[in-house]
């Protein structure tokens, strides 16, 4: 569809020029901000690899890093919707702590003693997870109700939530740490057994590739059907190839991470498998928390971009009055963002509790800060209306790579905080500068 109006560009909008590199990238319709974040992430990992003399960039390290980032990343996907709709949630860390403690107490105390579910009761781990999710949704609904219907500013409500809920954790366990979760529940946290294994990892990789190709073909067909302009064929092919190579590469990388030697040998003797010379190499593949994060990212992206609820959240962030005048039930929409957030906190709490095999009083401490930092580094704007879910996940990985890399280099935790703080300000400063120049 060519049109005369194309020749007269609106101020501030440049039509894609075909000759420049920028123009070529524009034709692939890649999200430049997301692409830039990927480059930054790769740069950070590469820099630490060089600084550590090639020791950093090993599957074990990368898998650990990813698992450490997964909890914050899961919550960050929800924080995007909260910040996009001009609110904030400071209570996520406390809620994670509360739900983690609930999981631990459910499985060690309440289920066997109060509910009559002994250790052999089937699917105890799933029942505990389900109750945790309900609890998260409940806390979210209460805070969301006060914010959306009573009209108390979200900063205040969730600051109160941060204090109150963290205090409640102490009352739950009378100040004690609780440990000893069900083996099934522990698998949520990753580790050698809590990973999907080599074969499944390849299968996931192949499914990922097929999904990428299917999405590209479907998108093209849709646009064709309505006669809209489509991407040039070379751009489609490039996207498909890059996407597939990345997915398969990640799968191969994860499959280069093997079970610890002792565990592998025990497994071999138990199953009468001969141990080959050089040790039995059983690939772990993707850890379960990463699979959970992947699922959360896909579902949340779907909700944010393809569902009415997501559209209303963004519309509200862009112009609250207009959204109200459009006849949208904005209060209900805001309440739902907090319910969703509570559910995500329950999932992150499951990862945290499973990794610890229990809960202490300070599980999830300062999560709210890391989560907000991840969302903001990932391009979410406090002015409202702007932010993407994959961006926030990448933001979580950027922040975690810095922390992990620095600790790998022997920098202590205060030093890591100094760097994290500076990076946060630089990232947002750069972004603000870019936006101002762009508009």
């Amino acid at each position: 569809m060519t049109n005369l109006a194309e020749a007269a560009p609106v101020p501030g909008v440049q039509p894609p020029a075909r000759t420049s590199i920028r123009g070529l990238i524009a034709q692939t319709e890649i999200d430049l901000r997301l692409f830039g974040m990927l480059v930054v992430l790769a740069g950070i990992l590469l820099a630490f690899n060089i600084l550590s003399g090639g020791k950093f960039f090993q599957p074990t390290n990368m898998v650990t890093l990813a698992v450490q980032a997964s909890g914050v990343a899961v919550i960050a996907t929800g924080m995007v919707l909260i910040i996009v709709s001009r609110n904030i949630d400071l209570s996520v860390g406390s809620l994670v702590g509360f739900i983690a403690m609930t999981y631990a107490l459910l499985m060690t105390d309440w289920m066997p003693h109060l509910l009559g579910m002994g250790p052999d009761f089937p699917f105890r781990w799933a029942i505990a997870l389900g109750l945790g999710i309900l609890l998260g949704a409940g806390f979210g609904a209460i805070q969301g109700f006060i914010i959306a219907y009573v009209g108390v500013p979200s900063f205040i409500v969730t600051l109160g939530g941060l204090l109150t809920i963290r205090g409640l954790v102490w009352y739950l366990s009378s100040g004690a740490a609780v440990s000893g979760l069900d083996p099934g529940f522990q698998l949520v946290g990753g580790g050698a057994l809590g990973s999907i294994g080599g074969t499944m990892t390849w299968i996931v990789g192949v499914i990922g590739c097929l999904a990428i190709v299917a999405l590209l073909i479907n998108g093209r067909r849709q646009r064709r059907r309505y006669g809209f302009p489509v991407r040039p064929m070379w751009a489609e092919a490039t996207l498909a190839v890059i996407g597939c190579v990345a997915v398969i590469g990640l799968a191969a990388f994860a499959n280069n991470n093997f079970w610890p030697k002792g565990l592998a040998e025990r497994y071999a003797t138990q199953n009468n498998i001969p141990i080959p010379a050089g040790g039995l190499l059983i690939p772990t593949g993707f850890p379960n928390p990463i699979m959970l994060l992947l699922a959360v990212t896909l579902v949340m992206t779907f909700i944010a971009t393809r569902r009415r609820f997501g559209r209303y959240v963004y519309a509200y962030g862009g112009n609250p009055d207009a959204t109200e005048l459009a006849g949208i039930n904005t209060r209900w929409t805001i309440l739902k963002t907090y319910v969703l957030m509570g559910v995500l906190c329950a999932l992150a709490a499951a990862i945290a509790a499973a990794r610890l095999n229990g809960a202490t009083l300070d599980v999830g401490q300062s999560y709210e800060l890391y989560v907000i930092a991840a969302a903001v580094v990932g391009g979410t704007s406090f002015a409202g209306g702007i932010g993407t879910i994959p961006g926030a996940v990448l933001g979580a990985f950027v922040m975690q790579s810095l922390a992990y890399g620095l600790s790998f280099m022997g920098v202590n935790s205060p030093g890591q905080n100094v760097v994290a703080g500076i990076v946060l300000i630089l990232a947002v400063g750069f972004d603000t500068f870019n936006r101002r120049r762009g508009s």
Partner: protein
């Protein structure tokens, strides 16, 4: 043109709205017939926009009754009004700047696929169709409306009101932000819609717009209707006098006239 006989499309009876101690609208009654353009004029703070916000469901009335096609209706929120095919083009346009034109056009009334997901392709397709009629130069369907020109944004706001088969259209300063060519387009559109039998409330500061397009003119002053007149019975100066003084022409004294002279 004379007023159509029969049941009015809209009757607003004894509407009052107060904000604290400020009576924005006092005991106003007004009606609108199908295929009629009613110009609503008055100075700043005269209560025009508040009165129209009542009809679009954005502002509940403290007192009064609204009938649509003779039946009493309750307008608690914009959804109620839209369900009665009352559409509004707000002075502020009421667009979500971070969302593209199709997203804004269908905001709150999205087209969805069988599984309830947003059907962006058909929304874009419908937007292309209606924009092809309203503003053929419009091509920026994938950009946030923030990056559109004033006229293009206005076109999106108008398209949104027109697309959903409005029977009653409220236009609050539809040409305030537009250049001469675009103003002409809007005027043509108003005439087209009127010919289709749509009743239109036209709020405007521009007395020429009002005289050009309206069948009747209602003048508001300090929350009250001064008078509702057939356009052919008055001239712009008479209407201007009512806007400034809040009095009907036959009540105007010599001192009042002097005051008008003074204000230009």
């Amino acid at each position: 043109m004379t007023v159509a006989a029969g049941t009015p499309l809209v009757e607003m009876r004894n509407i009052s709205v107060a904000f604290g101690g400020l009576h924005a609208v006092r005991d106003v009654s007004i009606d609108l017939f199908a295929g009629e353009v009613l110009g609503l004029v008055g100075g700043n703070g005269a209560g025009k926009s508040t009165l129209m916000r009542v009809l679009s469901g954005a502002q509940p009335a403290d007192k009064g009754e609204i009938r649509v096609n003779g039946e009493v209706v309750e307008l608690r929120n914009p959804r109620d009004a839209k369900a009665l095919n009352i559409e509004t083009i707000y002075q502020t346009l009421a667009l979500a700047d971070n969302i593209d034109a199709p997203g804004n056009l269908f905001l709150g009334r999205e087209l969805t696929t069988r599984v309830g997901s947003l059907d962006d392709s058909s929304m874009e397709s419908e937007t292309r169709k209606i924009m092809g009629r309203l503003n053929p130069n419009f091509t920026r369907f994938a950009l946030p409306v923030r990056s559109l020109s004033g006229g293009q944004r206005q076109a999106v706001a108008i398209a949104r009101a027109v697309y959903f088969n409005a029977r009653i259209l409220i236009m609050d300063e539809p040409t305030a932000a537009l250049g001469p060519a675009e103003t002409g387009q809007v005027r043509n559109l108003v005439r087209q819609l009127k010919d289709q039998g749509i009743g239109i409330f036209l709020i405007s500061h521009d007395i020429h717009d009002v005289f050009d397009l309206s069948d009747r003119i209602s003048v508001m002053y300090h929350g009250r209707i001064v008078d509702t007149v057939q356009k052919d019975d008055v001239d712009p100066d008479g209407v201007l006098g009512m806007i400034i003084l809040g009095k009907k022409p036959d009540e105007v004294t010599e001192t009042d006239k002097a005051e008008i002279e003074l204000r230009g």
